[in-house]
C-alpha cells in the first residue's frame, strides 16, 4: 500500500515578484515500510519536497496524499503532520525543552494525547533511540549524535508513519552519524517505519531499498542503489559522486578488467579477487 503519493506537484518560492522553482512536476509514490534515499545537489528541491509532504508548504499545482489524506485538507492537516515526522540538519535548532523527557513529550502534548499515554510514548520513544538513561538530563550537554537521537525520539512520540531525515547527519562526526543511522535502520527493519533519508553521503544510500535522484526541481532517476551508482553519466550530470568502490569498479572495467558493479568495499574486494 502506498503511504505517500505526490502527483504532478510543483512549487515555487516567490519573493519580490521573483520566482524560484522549488520543485517541478514531481510524482513519487512511497510504499509502506520502504527505506528511500533522496539524493541531489544543493538547491535541487529535496528539502522543498520534504516540506511539501507534511504540509509545511502547500503545492502550487498537483496533489499530495499521506495515508490517503490530502495535505490540502485543512481540517486534517494536524493528522498529516503527526503522520510525517521530520528531523532537520541542525540538532540545536530542534530542542524546545530543557529536560530531555519534556522535549520528547512536547509533540504528543500538542496533539492532545492523554497524560498516561504520553508517559508510555516518551518511554518507548527514548528506548527506541537508546537514550532512556538520559531522560531526566538536559539536551544541551549531549553530543551531536545524541541530540539527533533525541530529536528522532521527539518525532517518534507522535507515532508517525513516515520518518523524514533532512540531512540529519550532515553536522555530525563519523561516530555520531553511525549512531543515528543505526537507529534509523533498526526502526525501519524492526518497527516497519517508512524512512525517507535525504543526504549528501553516498555511502548512506548503499543500503536503501530505492534511491531517488533529484536535479533542478525534478525527479530524474529512481532505482536500486546499484543501478543508480552504475550510471556514471547520471551521477556526473546530477553533481553526485558514486562511492569509492563503485568508482574503482568502473575504472577497472574501463581498463579492460571484467568486474561487476558493487556497493560495498567488501563486494569490491570479492570482485577484485576474482581477477586472479
Amino acid at each position: 500500500m502506498k503511504i505517500l503519493e505526490t502527483c504532478n506537484v510543483s512549487y515555487s518560492y516567490k519573493t519580490d515578484g521573483e520566482e524560484t522553482i522549488g520543485v517541478k512536476n514531481v510524482s513519487l509514490s512511497v510504499e509502506r515500510g520502504e527505506f528511500l534515499v533522496l539524493l541531489g545537489h544543493n538547491g535541487c528541491g529535496k528539502s522543498t519536497l520534504a516540506k511539501l509532504t507534511n504540509g509545511l508548504l502547500m503545492p502550487d499545482e498537483g496533489t499530495i496524499t499521506v495515508s490517503g489524506i490530502p495535505t490540502s485538507d485543512e481540517d486534517r492537516i494536524y493528522e498529516v503532520r503527526s503522520k510525517v515526522g521530520m528531523v532537520f540538519q541542525n540538532p540545536d535548532n530542534q530542542m524546545v525543552a530543557s529536560v530531555i523527557e519534556d522535549d520528547v513529550a512536547f509533540g504528543p502534548e500538542n496533539l492532545g494525547v492523554e497524560r498516561s499515554e504520553i508517559v508510555k510514548r516518551v518511554e518507548w520513544a527514548l528506548r527506541s533511540v537508546d537514550m532512556e538513561k538520559y531522560r531526566k538530563g538536559t539536551p544541551f550537554k549531549l553530543s551531536g549524535g545524541q541530540k539527533q537521537r533525541v530529536a528522532i525520539a521527539a518525532v517518534l512520540a507522535m507515532k508517525p508513519e513516515i520518518l523524514i531525515l533532512d540531512e540529519s547527519t550532515a553536522m555530525l562526526d563519523p561516530a555520531g552519524r553511525e549512531e543515528v543511522l543505526s537507529v534509523v535502520k533498526r526502526l525501519n527493519k524492526e518497527e516497519g517505519m517508512t524512512v525517507i533519508l535525504i543526504t549528501h553521503y553516498m555511502d548512506e544510500a548503499a543500503d536503501a531499498d530505492r534511491v531517488v535522484v533529484m536535479s533542478e526541481g525534478k525527479i530524474v532517476a529512481s532505482g536500486a542503489p546499484i543501478e543508480i551508482f552504475s550510471d556514471r553519466e547520471l551521477i556526473s550530470r546530477c553533481r553526485l559522486q558514486a562511492p569509492v568502490c563503485c568508482g574503482v569498479m568502473h575504472k577497472l572495467n574501463a581498463l579492460g578488467f571484467r568486474v561487476n558493479p558493487v556497493l560495498t568495499d567488501e563486494e569490491a574486494a570479492e570482485e577484485i579477487c576474482r581477477l586472479k
Partner: protein, 286 residues
C-alpha cells in the same frame, strides 16, 4: 617554521563542577608549505587548538609561536597574528553580514588598515582567486548566493588580507558531493598560488588522505598521532577513535586477507586502480 606549539594545555571552567581539560600538553610544529589535516572526535579539542592559533583564546599554559609572534610574551601583537593566520570557521556562510559581497570581502582588509581603493582591489583579486566572477557578484547580497558560492565569499574575505597560513574548520561540511570536490580543489590550487601552509579540520578520511601530507590526531585533548596519512591509516588502530580509514585503504586491507598484497601507500581511488592494474598486469591479465 610557521607555527611552533610547546606543552600547550587549556582547561575550561577551572574550579567549577564542569572543569574540563580541553587540551593536554600538546606540542608540534608546522613548517611553511605543509598541508596538515587535524582529526579527532567531537570534543577532542580541535576547535580549542585552532582558536589558540588566532589568539581567540588567551594562552594560559605552554607556548604558541606563529612566525615571530610569541603568544606567551606579555601583550603579543594580536592584530599582526590575525593577519598572518586566516581562519575559516565552520559553516562560514552564516557569518556573512554585509549588504553586498563587495563590502563583505572588503571588511577584513579595511580593518587591517588598507585604504578603500586598495581594499577593493584586494577584494576583487581574492574573489577571482576563489573562482567567483567579481563583476557578477560584487553588488549582490551574499544571502542570495548558493551555499558553495557563499563559502567562496567567506574564503575570499580571508584571502583579501593575504594571510600566510590558512586554518579551515570543516570547509566541506554541508556541501553536496561536487561542491565538496570543488572546495578541496580550490584549496589545493590556493596552496600552489597564494597560501602555501594550510591546516584543515575534517571528519572525512578520504579527503584527508587525498589532500594532506601530514595528519595530527587529537583524542581527549591529547595529541595521539602526528604522522603521514599512509602511516596513520595502515599502521595505527583507529577503531577506538571511531575513525574509519579511507575506502581505498579498507579495500587494500580486505584484499590482503584474501592474499592479494598491494603497496601500503595506496590512499585514493585512482591510486588503488593503478595498484590493481600493476598487480594483475604482472600476471598477464590485461
Amino acid at each position: 617554521m610557521s607555527i611552533e606549539i610547546k606543552n600547550l594545555s587549556c582547561v575550561y571552567g577551572v574550579r567549577t563542577p564542569y572543569e574540563k581539560k580541553a587540551l593536554d600538553n600538546i606540542s608540534f610544529t608546522v613548517n611553511e608549505g605543509e598541508s596538515v589535516g587535524l582529526i579527532g572526535m567531537t570534543g577532542s579539542g580541535k576547535s580549542t587548538l585552532l582558536q589558540h592559533l588566532n589568539g581567540l583564546i588567551k594562552l594560559k599554559s605552554g607556548s604558541v609561536k606563529v612566525f615571530d609572534i610569541d603568544l606567551s610574551k606579555r601583550r603579543p601583537d594580536l592584530m599582526k597574528l590575525r593577519k598572518h593566520v586566516g581562519m575559516l570557521f565552520q559553516y562560514p556562510e552564516y557569518q556573512l553580514f554585509a549588504d553586498t559581497v563587495k563590502d563583505d570581502i572588503m571588511f577584513g582588509p579595511l580593518n587591517f588598515g588598507m585604504k578603500k581603493p586598495e581594499a577593493e582591489e584586494a577584494a576583487a583579486r581574492a574573489a577571482e582567486l576563489t573562482g567567483l566572477n567579481w563583476e557578477d557578484v560584487k553588488d549582490r547580497s551574499p544571502l542570495e548566493l548558493s551555499g558553495g558560492q557563499k563559502r567562496r565569499v567567506a574564503i575570499a574575505g580571508i584571502l583579501a588580507y593575504s594571510p600566510d597560513i590558512l586554518v579551515l574548520d570543516e570547509p566541506t561540511a554541508g556541501l553536496d558531493p561536487l561542491g565538496k570536490k570543488e572546495m578541496l580543489d580550490l584549496i589545493a590550487s590556493l596552496r600552489k598560488t597564494t597560501v602555501s601552509t594550510v591546516i584543515t579540520v575534517s571528519h572525512n578520511m578520504d579527503e584527508i588522505a587525498e589532500y594532506c601530507d601530514r595528519v595530527i590526531v587529537l583524542s581527549d585533548g591529547k595529541l595521539l598521532y602526528d604522522t603521514t596519512p599512509a602511516k596513520l591509516f595502515y599502521e595505527e588502530d583507529l577503531a577506538p577513535l571511531h575513525l574509519q580509514p579511507p575506502h581505498a585503504v579498507r579495500i587494500v586491507r580486505l584484499l590482503e586477507n584474501k592474499g592479494i598484497r598491494l603497496p601500503h601507500d595506496v590512499l585514493t581511488e585512482d591510486q588503488l586502480v593503478a595498484a590493481i592494474k600493476e598487480y594483475f598486469s604482472g600476471g598477464g591479465h590485461a
